[in-house]
């Protein structure tokens, strides 16, 4: 089976052969022979050429999150187009809508609508779980809208800002 995988912004081609507990996996140009063992419902031990790798797997729609001891990577998968390599025309991304990841209070808005921001630049500071947290722009672009004001209480999912 061949997949296109997207891992933390990187696209990879993954081919999986075999079944049972033994797999032959090719990721781009790298090949792994994997002995696969599920331990309980959430953990898996992979023996790759005798080396052992213990991973946690969190199911997500369209893929899963892979938890290493020193990293946590979201993997999205889709079936590769039959016979074709990855390609297609890059499309422009639409505006990004940021919503509140949890209930909290807006401490400070850091940018005005119309400001040009970089990816990763702070847009506003929100207090949640006793901590102040900077909400950052997921992409470069213009701030189209700031939907909250200083001191406002917000619920999970409330629109905070639009960048596009």
């Amino acid at each position: 089976m061949i997949f296109e995988a997207l891992v933390e912004g990187r696209a990879l081609r993954v081919e999986v052969k075999g079944r049972g507990d033994r797999y032959d996996v090719t990721v781009d140009d790298r090949r792994f022979e994997v002995d696969w063992r599920e331990n309980g419902r959430h953990f898996v031990s992979l023996l790759v050429d005798g080396r052992n790798l213990e991973l946690g797997l969190e199911a997500r729609a369209g893929g899963c999150i892979v938890v290493f001891d020193d990293d946590r990577l979201a993997v999205e998968l889709r079936d590769a187009v039959r016979g074709g390599a990855l390609g297609g025309k890059p499309a422009a991304g639409g505006p990004a809508r940021l919503s509140a990841p949890m209930p909290g209070k807006i401490v400070r808005v850091l940018v005005l609508p119309g400001t040009a921001v970089e990816a990763g630049q702070g847009l506003l500071v929100m207090e949640a779980m006793k901590m102040e947290n900077e909400i950052r722009s997921p992409r470069a672009g213009l701030v189209r809208e700031i939907a909250v004001r200083d001191g406002q209480a917000v619920e999970t999912g409330a629109l905070l800002a639009v960048v596009g």
């Binding site: 912004g9 990879l12 797999y23 369209g62 893929g63 946590r72 998968l77 901590m131």
Partner: protein, 503 residues
């Protein structure tokens, strides 16, 4: 003060520290009463306590911060003592006084001492009187803009603006030069007013590359006081400690003795009783400056317990019952080295954004020299209402080198699924040569994040392989034809971004 054994202790807290106190009570044969908000009926501290009592809705203000409801719970359950833990009402003098007035033993210092040492400028004055060096700055609260400007010029820049009633990094501002002063002062005062109902601030000279070192003290009601050496707390992010250790890798024996003696002097001078912590900044030259006193048990108390062999919570309870300290200063020693990592429900890959949610699975490390003081379990939903501390992972070893090796081993065994945590971040820090060398100050986390986040090699190929095998197995199990599988909207978007990056 006469001895009066405690029979039943109400624990006015939640999470890992409530669990810690439940355990201490049980081992002393004292009944433990847990209290819980509506969000916490299934919390671990409730599960482990012998009794439990609901105290109101999820928001802290209506439950864990409500003096009336806590006192009512104590009355209803017949508790004869209250342990406040840390945070919430732990440094609230009015709460301590209310306990005293009702004949409830408050496991901590007297209410007057909390008032005296809780207000930061009065604590600084007390320190000066006791001969303890403080960071140069104001000794009285300052309230107007003109006075702030005058004091700032006297002290010099860079300086720190701090809320007089503050704590936990609130109302705290670093001011680099005079041009920033007015705006910073305005912000600090408005934050302080919002958080503590008091807009008075004080000013301190900002030290260059300071270390954050604190001294644990214990004092009984009979005039005996000891210190239990230092804890190194420089590994912090935005004034929130992440990793603590004892001994500090850079505190010399001479400095340790000096700070210990200063701490005991201040404790005796202020008539302090029970456990407390004196926070110091130590500058690059090794000079200590008293910062503030925490009149309660500290989050990071286990590292001191591991190196001294002393159970601080049990001693808090025994001191509260009127017992004398069972040892003298010269009987105490630091044995080996302990390190603590605070396991937080925060996502280090998203600027440490809090990550509440359900813990799907949890495997905790074990074996020799490992202690996990946790407040959570597999199946538990981390609520959004409280702080993101899940657990404190503590290791003890013969030496700092062994403790580091052991912490690496323990971190590699620790898996929490369902919510992002700071565990992978700590695994990386514990391999960082700057951390291993012990050559760090309070700027460490910011600089580690800055230099490693973009640069680190991430195991993308193995993650993709694992996810793909899992997918193949799922399809086989479900016997679904591939075309019917859903593709998430973020997938398509992300793939476009990735391809753009490649082009």
């Amino acid at each position: 003060m006469n001895e009066r054994p405690l029979r039943k202790v109400l624990i006015a807290n939640r999470g890992e520290i409530a669990v810690r106190i439940v355990r201490a009570c049980q081992e002393l044969g004292i009944a433990a009463v847990a209290v819980y908000s509506e969000a916490d009926r299934g919390a671990l501290h409730v599960r482990l306590a012998g009794e439990a009592c609901g105290i109101g809705p999820a928001p802290s203000r209506e439950s864990y911060l409500s003096i009336d409801r806590i006192l009512e719970a104590a009355r209803r359950t017949g508790a004869d003592a209250v342990h406040p833990g840390y945070g919430f009402l732990a440094e609230n003098a009015a709460f301590a006084r209310a306990c005293e007035e009702r004949g409830l033993v408050f496991v901590g210092p007297r209410s007057e001492t909390i008032a005296l040492m809780g207000e930061k400028t009065s604590a600084r004055r007390m320190a000066v009187e006791a001969g303890v060096p403080v960071v140069p700055g104001t000794l009285e609260p300052v309230r107007d803009a003109q006075a702030i400007r005058r004091e700032a010029r006297r002290i010099g820049f860079p300086l720190m603006l701090k809320a007089a009633s503050g704590g936990g990094g609130k109302g705290l501002r670093l001011v680099a030069d005079e041009g920033e002063l007015d705006a910073a002062a305005q912000r600090a005062r408005s934050e302080a007013l919002g958080a503590f109902g008091d807009d008075s601030v004080y000013l301190e000279k900002a030290l260059e590359r300071p270390r954050h070192v604190e001294i644990q003290v214990l004092a009984d009601a009979h005039g005996n006081a000891v210190h239990l050496f230092e804890r190194e707390c420089s590994i912090q992010r935005r004034h929130q400690k992440l990793i603590e250790e004892s001994p500090s890798p850079f505190v010399t024996e001479a400095l340790r003795r000096r700070m210990g003696a200063l701490a005991v002097a201040l404790v005796k001078r202020s008539g302090y009783v029970n456990a407390g912590t004196l926070e110091f900044l130590v500058d690059a030259a090794g000079e200590p400056y008293f910062l503030e006193m925490n009149t309660r048990l500290q989050v990071e108390h286990p590292v001191t317990e591991m190196v001294t062999g002393i159970d601080l919570v049990k001693l808090q309870l025994r001191i509260a019952a009127g017992e004398r300290l069972p040892f003298r200063q010269e009987q105490l020693a630091q044995r080996g080295h302990a390190i603590e990592c605070r396991v937080l429900a925060e996502d280090p890959d998203r600027g440490f954004l809090p990550s509440p949610g359900r813990i799907q699975a949890l495997e905790a490390p074990a074996g020799p020299g490992v202690r996990d003081d946790s407040g959570v379990y597999a199946g538990y939903a981390v609520p959004v209402h409280y702080d993101p501390l899940l657990s404190k992972l503590v290791v003890h070893g013969e030496s700092r080198a062994e403790a580091i090796q052991r912490m690496r081993r323990a971190l590699s065994e620790y898996r929490i699924l369902g919510v992002p945590t700071t565990l992978p971040f700590y695994a990386r820090v514990l391999r960082d040569p700057s951390f291993v060398s012990g050559e760090f100050d309070t700027s460490y986390v910011a600089s580690f994040v800055a230099r490693s986040d973009g640069a680190r090699e991430r195991p993308v190929a193995l993650a993709a392989a694992a996810a793909a095998i899992r997918e193949v197995r799922e399809r086989l199990a479900a016997r679904l034809p591939p075309a019917t599988r859903p593709t998430s909207p973020w997938f398509a978007e992300g793939l476009r971004e990735a391809q753009r990056g490649r082009a």
